[in-house]
Symmetry: C2
Subunit: 528 residues, 2 copies
């Protein structure tokens, strides 16, 4: 075989390698996390891979009973779907209504109680799969080449390690970025990298920098407290002493669901890939009914309003107040809302149980998007260059909207104190001040003008791990250092000791010389 | 115009925008830096852009007199090509022969003298263009959309700022990475990021970490000393108070000429793009004569030997010693060497004034590459999966070879102490120990399996800056912080002061209470 033939064979081999179908195991999370994961799964199907999702019987969003190309491996858990729903409702209620109103102590008590329940439920989910030996055997036989996990629900990494396959995280954020910082070794200088959930921007005053460091310490302590409960469980399952954080830190790639149109520029590591907006795609034409309603808005255009997939209803009072405000603008409004029709609903506003949000945001008549500030919705608005009004409710939403406000593409309102006039003012500002639209369009250009689009990039790195059995060449040596070595505290202590020793010796020498001098002078004086 | 028509127009606009030809201004550097830059220029031509290179009359490598598609804007400098050549020879001689042999004081004196000459020459180059008003006017009229500069030769950034156009750096490294760290705000935790030129890997012992911090401090001090000489010049030219480092820090993108096959995984910023191996491409067939010689090696294969473009000759003694070693192996050797034929040259070795290095390294019969460790050569070996023997000579070469050794793809020899047996042993080790080949092939897979190849990526970001007039969304807020703010020293001082105040107040309170108690007891005692 000559040189040229060899090259042809090599190229053919590479081609075959790139189109070979692999088995991918998915460890999903709930809510919008699952919605996001589905886009990756679809792309994996497109590229000819087989996808298996490990899902428990009480899952709320992963609909394993409907026919689908996905293979679902369902495992029993010791609690019902209602218990899980109650837990979710508890978290939402705490975040939306209680977090900012309760006293410090009551908030702490409530949060601890929710976390304890959460840990208990998640432990039962882990037990559900890790003690199901029949399922584990079946999974082992399926020869998965990678596990893709959303670490908001722990145990994906544990399952992967037990099955001996590499794993990848897809993640929006962890509390105070503690997981990324402490387990993933992602550097985050607190002087210009605001801790996630802190609602700070990258340009902080002195007081804000103090606050950022305090948040950072608080989240570290809290996370360490939460993780400690898992350490012995992880050690037991893996049959060797380990920690939750050490196991998490073994992720080959961290697919972070933001990009630099949303994120403040910050240091990151080569195994952190920013794939924000991976679900963004061009708008499809609207249904005839929707298109007619949108076109009827004339030159004023339309406002799209949605509070996301997790909040379906509002109190009657809140709904009336919002409907009243929406009635005061010349635009037509499409409101995704499944509660009772508010009494104050004006003729310009139409309620819909479901809206094709992406297609509406991509419509040239859309002037503004009123959003709860979930990353999925924000990214659709960014992609289509639509400015926003944020009414953040819980989790990362207030923080997300701070990002959009800092980038000049949004006005943010407080859900609790919101009144009609606030909303009318915000609508008029965002619609009439051209800078909001310009900034949104700038973000859109950033999102669309990447070397490779986010979804392709996410799938590239998943396939890279499949092809090479990992991505160890991107793993920083920081993982093998202790915290004091990482921060060079031992070196600083050593150098300080050296300086101290030199100063001590010099002082001793000086004192010795002085004494000698004095001694000589004394003798001289005596002789005189 | 309906919705669909609008979209078609928008897509056509995007297409036109992407293929529009722009005017790119290049600020080149000497030696292998120019060789590397030419690959980017070629790709820019391919994509229909016009390229102008600003070059001074004493340039050694930029051949502006030969016919070329490049427009050369040649400006006069107050020194001759010979003066510049002498300066280059001085640096090389210092690095290769003197650096490790001179006493600390002599080394410092010699290095200071070279640096002073260098600064003087570079200042004259800057003057050459910045006082040439006619040329400046012409450049201004040419409406460049971006300037691409190799910051090893200063003033590219100054010229761009003066012309009011964004600029991009293409850079292998600066002394101790001081430019990237201090001006580009690139974080480099010294516990696992070895300072460039330190010849350390990412896995350091305690002593090495101490050494790394010392290097870091030394390079920071040295760089600050060198840059200070430029500060007033930069302020004067720009007509406002500024510094060398501040102007450098305004680069929109830093194209770093390494990738994670070569680099140790480390934190970086979104405006740092790693494009190592951008000149790598598949091998072309060899000339008949070369192919015959290579094929004549049979199953043993060939060794390719080159000490790079800057070192043409060796001492007769060194050349004989090397030729002697090469004669002791069963492989055929192709040696790129323009000095006199060594007396000990064996029949298996052929000397060539020039070799098609990339085509040879891509030949399946090539077993090992003996290299001086320049990044260009190393990357060709990585691309083709050829293990190396490094005989590093100067600049980043010893450091580069430490990287290749740490990745298991090279054996490193000392040029000064090199003897025949060392070279024979190294050749036998790299050829017969399969791990070297396996590791080189692993690096090759990493280099070839990227979301986008390095050259395309480099050109993507250059075109991005052209399309958007910059890449400010990637610029970290760290640039607007002072050094003590960046390291949170003010916050730490404040928090320490708070703790001290609390301790002080608590102590005072305790003392007050104690005194009161004692007082009461005293009175009680008195009363008793």
């Amino acid at each position: 075989m000559d040189n040229m033939q060899l090259r042809v064979v090599f190229t053919a081999f590479l081609f075959l390698q790139s189109v070979s179908s692999d088995n991918v195991l998915i460890w999903p999370a709930e809510g919008s996390h699952w919605i996001n994961m589905k886009h990756i799964i679809e792309e994996l199907f497109e590229r000819g891979h087989n996808v298996t999702v490990a899902v428990h019987t009480a899952a709320l969003y992963v609909n394993y009973s409907e026919p689908s190309a996905i293979t679902f491996e369902v495992f029993e858990v010791q609690f019902t779907r209602d218990t899980y729903k109650d837990f979710m409702t508890d978290i939402l209620h705490f975040w939306i209504y209680e977090e900012r109103n309760l006293s410090y102590w009551d908030r702490y008590k409530k949060f601890s109680a929710i976390m304890t329940t959460g840990t208990k439920l998640h432990r039962q989910i882990c037990d559900g799969i890790l003690t199901n030996h029949k399922l584990l055997e079946k999974l082992e036989e399926s020869k998965f080449t990678v596990l893709l996990s959303d670490p908001v629900q722990p145990c994906g990494e544990l399952l992967a390690t037990k099955l001996g396959i590499p794993f990848i995280f897809t993640l929006r954020f962890s509390f105070g970025s503690a997981l990324e910082r402490l387990c993933g070794q992602l550097p985050a200088p607190p002087s210009y990298v605001p801790v996630s959930m802190s609602e700070l921007s990258d340009r902080m005053t002195f007081a804000q920098r103090v606050q950022n460091i305090q948040y950072s310490i608080m989240y570290d302590l809290m996370s360490n407290w939460l993780w400690r409960e898992w350490d012995s469980y992880y050690s037991e399952v893996l049959g060797k002493p380990t920690t939750f954080c050490e196991t998490m830190g073994k992720a080959e790639i961290w697919l972070i669901r933001t990009y630099w149109d949303f994120e403040f520029p910050r240091p990151f590591l080569p195994n952190f890939v920013f794939v924000g907006g991976l679900h963004c795609r061009p708008a499809k034409p609207l249904s005839q009914e929707l298109e007619e309603f949108v076109q009827s808005s004339g030159e004023h255009g339309v406002v799209v309003f949605s509070l996301g997939s997790m909040v379906k209803n509002l109190t009657a009072e809140k709904a009336n107040m919002i409907a009243d405000a929406l009635g005061q603008i010349p635009q037509k409004v499409l409101w995704s809302y499944s509660g009772d029709q508010p009494k104050t609903l004006a003729p310009n506003t139409k309620l819909y149980k479901w809206l094709p949000q992406n297609d509406l945001l991509g419509h040239p008549k859309t002037r503004v998007f009123i959003t709860h500030g979930g990353t999925n919705g924000i990214y659709e608005a960014i992609y289509h260059g639509v400015p926003m009004i944020g009414i953040p409710l819980f989790a990362d939403q207030p923080d997300n909207m701070v990002h959009m406000k800092a980038k000049g593409a949004a006005v943010v309102l407080n859900f609790i104190t919101l009144n009609t006039q606030d909303l009318v003012d915000a609508l008029n500002t965002v619609i009439n001040d051209k800078r909001y639209k310009e900034n949104a369009e700038r973000l859109s250009r950033i999102q669309r003008d990447q070397p490779m689009n986010s979804l392709e990039q996410a799938v590239f790195w998943i396939e890279f791990v499949m092809r090479h059995g990992g991505a160890q060449h991107l793993r920083p040596a920081a993982h093998s250092l202790s915290w004091y070595q990482y921060h060079c505290l031992d070196v600083i202590a050593f150098l300080c000791a050296c300086v101290a020793a030199v100063v001590f010796l010099l002082t001793k020498c000086c004192m010795f010389c002085c004494r000698r001098c004095r001694g000589t002078r004394g003798k001289k004086n005596k002789t005189e």
